[in-house]
Symmetry: C2
Subunit: 199 residues, 2 copies
DNA sequence: ACAGCCATGTAAGTCGTTACATGATTGC
DNA sequence: GCAATCATGTAACGACTTACATGGCTGT
């Protein structure tokens, strides 16, 4: 049940609507967790029922309203408990690697295409995460500014450092995937050359 | 729906029972996909209904029976189709990284404990994958021997090479996590030293 | 006899995806 | 007026987890 904690962690920075929360891990670049709004709205209602957050209806223009949620003390306590808790390792499940295991079922051209797509995707991700690390270090995002405002000056360095470290990790992961795809392409070249010799 | 394809890929090596299939990605070391038997048995029945595999009841001792499944021609065709298909990138969802983003909610000791657990786990994984790469390259697993038996000599190199490449990738990933955890520990040291200076 | 492995199942519940649906606000 | 964005929801389905359950076989 990490969706709750991801939501609470965002709400710790500042109160927000479900829509805004959804943007943070849906369309937006900067999050290690993803969830669609169809999962978020019901979860927010359950969290409010559990007392972890509290919602307030606010006006939007003339007729419209929106519900803004804020983290409660119980929510803050739960966040602290969760951070101290052991983190279970997720079971391995990777479609790209699973498929790569069996590239012999397809052509060399296919293996090349797949590795190339993997390469392109993760190269893009790498740049995205690297850019985000810089933004964080410059305290250059709205969310970071709001978050820091709630803490004493002396805590700021650690708050920034942990987040930067996570996204540096994401970039390192992406780099590893890029390298894997590159040596995959080299492998296909070697295999195809070897297959050609017998002909 | 990758579970199907993982099962079919294993059954391409040799016919097997649900129990044996479950061992391959449950308890056993060597698989990039995981599934419990409670998911496997119903899926096998559905796959048989769809004509991708065919099951045969066999005797076990006096009273017992077991059902052995074999890949059908339709299954082989579907495997080829799947390998050629584009591979969607999974949405990011990582509990360890999510939590690390918010280590400021806990103590330095906790951050250290978390990073240390991450380090230990992935170091172990790394060795596991590296050992598996060697086994594969020596064609030293039962499954690999069975798999190769179904293909002409000329195809053997590629079959081994793709699998070794995948598990080298798994090892590289684990190495990346180990490095991340190590620099995380160094980060905690620096942050704690900096916090100590103000006291 | 007993332990450990082989073998197969069900059922409840949670989590996540995809699609369908609606309406207000803001800026051009 | 229209498009883009803000805002919130439902519903069906599929994937996965966890727990409960049963019984035969093999070796000591």
């Amino acid at each position: 049940m990490s969706l709750r904690h991801a939501l609470m962690a965002l709400l710790d920075a500042t109160p927000m609507t479900g829509y805004t929360l959804a943007k943070h891990f849906d369309q937006s670049a900067a999050f290690v967790w993803h969830a669609p709004h169809s999962q978020i709205y019901p979860e927010l209602r359950r969290m409010e029922a559990d007392g972890l957050i509290s919602g307030r209806d606010e006006l939007r223009g003339a007729r419209g309203t929106k519900r803004t949620y804020a983290l409660t003390e119980a929510g803050r306590t739960e966040l602290r408990r969760w951070v101290e808790e052991a983190t279970p390792a997720p079971p391995g499940r990777d479609g790209a690697y699973l498929k790569a295991t069996y590239y012999e079922f397809g052509s060399f051209a296919n293996a090349r295409r797949q590795f190339q797509a993997h390469l392109t995707y993760h190269q893009q991700q790498q740049h995205r995460w690297e850019a985000h690390v810089k933004e964080l270090q410059n305290r250059d995002t709205e969310l970071m500014r709001l978050r820091l405002a709630g803490w004493p000056e002396s805590a700021h360095e650690a708050i920034v450092a942990y987040k930067a470290h996570v996204y540096r990790g994401m970039a390192a992961r992406a780099r590893t995937e890029v390298e894997w795809a590159k040596s995959g392409l080299a492998l296909v070249d070697r295999l195809e050359a070897a297959a050609g010799e017998d002909t």
